[in-house]
Amino acid sequence: MTPRSLLLRGGRVVDPSQGIDDVLDVLLADGAVARLGRDIEAPEHAEIRDVSGLVVCPGLIDLHVHLREPGGERKETIESGARAAAAGGFTAVCAMPNTDPPVDDPAAVGFVVAEGMRAGYARVYPVAAVSVGLRGERLAAIGEMVDAGAVAISDDGRPVSDAGLMRLALEYTQTFGIPVASHCEELSLSRGGSMNEGLVSTRLGLQGIPNAAEDVMIARDLLLAELTGGRLHIQHVSTRRGVEMIRAAKARGVQVTAEATPHHLTLTDEAVDGYRTEAKVNPPLRTAEDVAAVREGLADGTLDVLATDHAPHHYDEKEQAFDDAPFGMVGLETALGIALTELVGKGVLTLNQLIDRMSCGPARAFRLPGGTLAVGSPADVTVIDLNAEWVVDPDRFLSKSRNTPFAGWKLVGQAALTIVGGRVVWDREVGPR
């Protein structure tokens, strides 16, 4: 990369990692944050962007995306996903390993790293499989995969059903300093289910997935993290009891982080009414009581991270009878707008808290570079227009998929610029770089 500098002039810099919320200039040079201050003099040949009226924050990081490559390229590729991420304001994403073939060996990890670099939008960090073939039987080559670039392990999409294997994973990873990210689902309680178990599932005649299917697994994993001293990250928490148990575990010193998704923060199982397959997701959309608890958990820091669980599906897979449609929804291009409108706009979180949960928190949970504008850190920056009004139109997504329950939602706030390594990879005015 040509050593070049970019001066962001006059924005409101919000960096919870340093406790900064002030109108400042930010100078990025040689891929790093070079200076924060008032009236910084632009170096020779620096590009200057006037960002007055906009928020400048450490780049958003999404710990949970499915980029589908290899094997699912008609739904998404690493390139299309990384581009969609950039358009959504994310400077880095963590790609789950449940591809075909799965990312369960160092070569596959290397492929994801290389494709991410080649795409050159948001950084793409591979999350590698816990078990060979995601089969839940024996550990994959975790050390070698970390050497190849994996930042965490997960069998996401399915749980690690065998408690003994989960224990081994939480122990073995301690050599390498990475967390085990857990999709908490007790299959014997969820099997055959396609939505939340409750009044709506009874009305619609759909088999339900009870909260307990998630809660018993969260309880198990918290106990195993406590037993082993390993680092646990609980994915897509959707239940009230789940939040409570994580809060209690943190209070007694268990090394656990956890995430919430935009959809579990904003939608209930009522969104499924009418057999809307775009609202079919796992864990399922729960009740208003659960939504309130997840919001509270995100606000008080029990849940450290807002992550999308971006799960692209081809339109014809979703255009089926509800039971036959796959689980999952896209989220990269709506997460920031949804969070600003529904959480910050409605007083659930402050802007500082939201930026912490979308940038600093994720960086801490997976020990990733970024999540801060401290001098010397990577020049990954998101510039946000808090006042931009827009309507979610899936036809305009850069993702290859359109499966969102948020189509038509009127949102306020979006990414104006996404900067990775000092390079603008998304500019609202001109599109992707």
Partner: protein, 323 residues
Amino acid sequence: MPVDTDLGKDLVGLEPLSAAQIRAILDTAEPFKEISERAIKKVPVLRGKTIVNLFFEPSTRTRISFEFAEKRLSADTVNISATGSSVAKGETLVDTARNLEAMKIDMVVIRHSSSGAARFLADRIESNVINAGDGRHEHPTQALLDMLTIRDHLGRLEGVRVCIVGDILHSRVARSNIWGLTKMGAEVAVCGPRTLMPPYVTELGVQQFARIEEAIEWADVLNVLRLQLERMQAGYVPSLREYNRFFGVTRARLMRAPRPLLILHPGPMNRGVEIDSDVADGPHSVILDQVTNGIAVRMAVLYLLAGGAPERAEAAKSAPEAP
């Protein structure tokens, strides 16, 4: 025709219908009963209409009942069953729908194993869609024929106490009955093993009885559901013998009832499991009346969806042209 009884394009379930709409269907069924008693069981009400019976699940009774209803109204019918059709070759439901639409048909009667399949089809084609059972969701014509049969025998639905007995969890018949009966002012209860009760079922406005004896003491009518044998294999009940012992509708139990109970069963029956033979064949069983009424109710639904007016049903029977 008064707007509030217009059924719209489709009959997907009873949940969205009003009491007035349900009453209109039941009232319209009355004059159609007589057609099946004639020597020549045919009227020209749906002459020139094309109806496809699209059955993705095996069904004998419902399919034959619809077919008789259609033929007695002079419609042209085609039966498609999943086995041996393009469906079995992997065609999606949406492609099936588009192909049917391209063949310029007038109505589709659909039976499918997925809840919501009838609505899915109805949203995608212009033809009228009638739900003949979708997964665990609804089976509206079954509930309509159940209600017609109860009304025939008790003279009313309002205030009648109906207990649905058995596997409520997996039953579309139960859901349609709950919606229909509660809208018509009946009191509804459910009874069966707790493993076969849907969560929050009482929030649908029904009582729940843990034991069949309590249900029998309370009810005027028992609607006894079939216990699918696969429920036992899946472990919902330990054995058929135990099911019969604790939930079977037996003569000994009915003898202790404070009043004679009307006995309904949507069929096909497992004699000796959910219902004993001497009850099924006994004086209070109206199971065969249900079968007869099924044809009249389905004729009424076909007629109304084709644009017929309830008050003209009697005249339509001899009319030279379709409504």
